[in-house]
């Protein structure tokens, strides 16, 4: 039997795609991904309806999904993150069923536990052989780690690999191997490598972002955690990335080497690895092409599955080993709850990704954000959507001051002793309000368009349609 199918249509037919199924996709090609669109276009052409999309993330490039929702091809979406036209359309109540938002770890755990069932997993494979050995390291759309696809491949009833770079058997390494893959189909192009790199992954030059990053590094330095073996994760935002720049001299001055850096991995993290600041990188997705090259060539740069990265399982996952995580926020409230799902108008613009997973696991969870964005204070009385519970957040760092969760008294004392500008979080809110005034609370619509599941599967919050 050959697994190799000559056309996408024949692969879908062989996989037994029928209406009402749950189909999954990974997002390692990010905003350069062609696979989700091409599969849904083909499914629509086959007259398939009522699919539930189990996509690890949805990007602006997936705008054609709107048409498939309108025509009933897709009637449900479960994801960890969405931005762009689809997210806008969801906020305008495009979909009858609420979108289910999970964290990366929560999604992997839901799939592994069987709570979420995938009928067919479609794996965009930058490099594949005819038997279904896959990796993200080679080929025109090389994206590096395939971390989010592992769980889908392992637990889906049927796995279809879609590649534009078919190599002679055996493809090596086999990140996902032939024992998990049912069909392989070759297409002209699975994605645009330019879209893999996100605009948010370059170190900021903005002096405000740099000031925040410097404070963040000083918080790490004063926290007592910056010792041999220290481990960290930074987000992909410019200010988070700048933190690594300030971390380097601190590590050098103390003569210590970080144990591991984790997350979406960027060129900045690769720099730290190559220059001996950190011993290894655990990589669930590559944020730029420098990281892709590194994961291919450097054995200390390891690919890890989403389940190992962030799942809330009793045996533990890598987030539980984190000393410190630096994360962003669209807003944070006086109880330290963080919103990364919606903007100040209530429009969906993101999702948890690994936010709540790393916050729960890390010993020190730091939110970095400017005190104001445009004319709005970053600290609010109550966030529009709780993405990450305040009980898992330790510190907020802004350019004008630092607030520490009241439960972390010893940390607060350490930061004060280090002459850092520590304020009560209410004081930071008021500092911004003195300039912006107090923003009115925006009314929202009545329809629930999204539910936010916490990593353990419990309901964390709901997202409402916009008030039209």
């Amino acid at each position: 039997m050959t697994k190799l199918k000559s056309t996408l249509r024949s692969a879908l037919e062989a996989a037994g795609l029928t209406s009402g199924m749950t189909v999954s996709f990974h997002h390692h090609l990010r905003n350069g991904d062609h696979v989700l669109n091409m599969v849904l276009d083909e499914a629509a052409a086959m007259g398939i309806k009522n699919l539930t999309l189990q996509a690890s993330s949805i990007f602006p490039v997936h705008a054609p999904l709107i048409g498939h929702i309108q025509s009933g091809v897709v009637t449900g979406i479960e994801t960890a993150y969405m931005s762009g036209p689809v997210a806008d359309a969801i906020s305008h109540a495009l979909l009858a069923r609420p979108v289910v938002f999970r964290s990366h770890g929560g999604r992997a755990q839901a799939i592994a536990s069987g709570r979420v069932h995938i009928d067919i997993a479609f794996i965009a494979a930058p490099c594949a052989d005819c038997a279904g050995n896959l990796n993200g390291l080679y080929g025109p759309a090389a994206c590096g780690s395939l971390g989010y696809a592992f769980t889908d491949a392992r637990y889906a009833d049927c796995v279809v690999a879609i590649t534009d770079h078919l190599v002679p058997y055996p493809a090596a390494p086999a990140s996902i191997d032939e024992t998990q893959v049912d069909y392989v189909v070759q297409v002209p192009c699975i994605g645009d490598p330019g879209g893999i790199v996100s605009g948010t992954t370059s170190v900021t030059r903005d002096p405000v972002g740099l000031r925040i990053a410097e404070y963040a590094a000083q918080v790490m330095a004063s926290s007592g955690l910056l010792q041999e073996g220290f481990s960290f994760q930074t987000g992909a935002g410019g200010a988070s990335l700048a933190v690594t720049e300030y971390l380097k001299p601190l590590l050098r001055a103390r003569g210590i080497t970080a144990g591991f850096g984790m997350g979406g991995i960027t060129g900045a993290m690769v720099d730290m690895l190559e220059n001996g600041y950190v011993r290894s990188l655990l990589d669930v997705q590559c944020f730029d092409l420098r990281a892709v090259a590194s994961i291919r060539d450097n054995p200390a740069h390891q690919e890890i599955p989403a389940l190992r990265y962030a799942a809330p399982i009793a045996r533990g996952s890598a987030v539980d080993q984190l000393s410190c995580v630096v994360l962003g926020a669209t807003e944070i409230d006086v109880d330290f709850n963080v919103n990364v799902h919606t903007d100040s108008s209530g429009v969906i613009l993101g999702g948890s990704g690994g936010h709540s997973d790393t916050a729960a696991g890390a010993q020190l969870t730091m939110i970095v954000a400017p005190l104001m964005r445009a004319r709005l204070p970053i600290v609010v009385d109550r966030v529009g959507c709780i993405s990450t519970p305040g009980s898992t957040v330790d510190v907020l760092v802004t350019q004008r001051g630092i607030a520490v969760h009241p439960a972390r008294r010893e940390l607060r004392d350490a930061l004060v002793a280090a002459h850092l500008p520590v304020y009560d979080i209410h004081a930071l809110r008021d500092m911004a309000r003195r300039i912006t005034g107090t923003p009115a609370v925006l009314p929202h619509g009545h329809r629930v368009v999204g539910v936010v599941e916490y990593r353990d599967g419990s309901l964390l919050d709901q997202i409402f349609a916009l008030d039209e």
Binding site: P207, V208, L210, R211, M372, Q399, I435
Partner: protein
């Protein structure tokens, strides 16, 4: 102690909002070069409102105004004098006459606004060959409390070639420092213009400090840390100063005249310098006793 003075464009709300977070000892809100002619009035209003609203946490708030020979100058002063900044910075000051003319204008505006006459102080920006030659007269003119060199306009005026090493402004730098010190006021060095060249900035700032400048202007927040470091005494300097004063005290106690430290004669200028170093260290909250 004003080591670093950060220029902030007066027409940028975002930069004005965060002007005081970069650890500059002073900020210079700019109504002149950073602002296009058709935005002068908007910038003036923005700066006024920013100063009133934000209560900048800096040691010195300075506002750079448009040149005397423009119509904007008077309007700038009308708006700014009531805000009572630490200094107003007139530009292209060529001689004492410019300051006298400004003084007249300020007197009127102070009177009109119920501000005590003569209280508005000036930090004169000298950026022409003529200005450099008249530096001492400018330094002694009414209201002038500090001089600053503006090297870009100055070297254009000279028809000199601007270089990273700045040999072409050595004369101007020395003359400005000498004029300011002779008049008993402060002197500030020109900004270093390559934002990305942090090593170049550090060398430039150290050279300025060595010449006797009190501090240095910056056009980028990324230069502030380097400037502050260059114009702060080092731990070794503070330690030495402490030793000098200890040796002197000991000598006085024992009734000795001449004393030496590390084989060098300690005379009056060395003691004076040691006192200055320790004053600076105290002003910067350096923990002198622990050093």
């Amino acid at each position: 102690m004003l080591r670093s003075l950060l220029f902030v464009p007066g027409n940028s709300p975002a930069m004005l909002l965060n002007a005081d977070i970069h650890r500059a000892d002073g900020i210079i809100l700019d109504l002149e070069d950073a602002v296009a002619p058709d935005q002068k009035d908007a910038a003036r209003i923005l700066v006024r409102n920013a100063v009133r609203t934000l209560q900048y946490a800096v040691q010195a708030l300075i506002i750079r105004i448009n040149p005397l020979d423009t119509a904007f100058c008077r309007e700038d002063l009308e708006t700014i004098v009531p805000l009572r900044p630490a200094f107003i910075m007139p530009t292209k000051v060529a001689g004492e006459g410019d300051i006298r003319a400004l003084d007249q204008m300020l007197r009127e505006i102070e009177r009109k606004n119920g501000v005590e006459e003569g209280v508005t102080r000036l930090l004169a920006l000298i950026e022409t060959a003529c200005g450099i030659e008249n530096a001492y007269a400018i330094a002694r003119a009414p209201r002038v409390r500090a001089l600053m060199l503006g090297a870009e306009d100055y070297t254009a005026d000279l028809r000199a070639i601007r270089s990273r090493e700045s040999g072409e402004i050595a004369y101007a730098r020395s003359r400005i420092v000498n004029a300011a010190r002779a008049a008993g006021i402060d002197a500030f060095d020109t900004p270093f213009t390559d934002v990305n060249d942090v090593d170049g900035l550090l060398n430039d700032a150290q050279a300025a400090r060595a010449l006797g400048f009190s501090g240095k202007a910056a056009i980028s927040p990324r230069h502030i840390a380097g400037i502050n470091a260059a114009f702060s005494p080092t731990a070794a300097e503070v330690r030495y100063a402490r030793q000098v004063l200890d040796v002197i005290e000991e000598a006085q106690r024992l009734g000795r005249g001449a004393v030496s430290l590390r084989g060098k004669m300690i005379d009056k200028p060395i003691v004076e310098r040691a006192r200055q170093t320790l004053q600076m260290a105290h002003a910067l909250n350096m923990e002198v006793d622990e050093l």
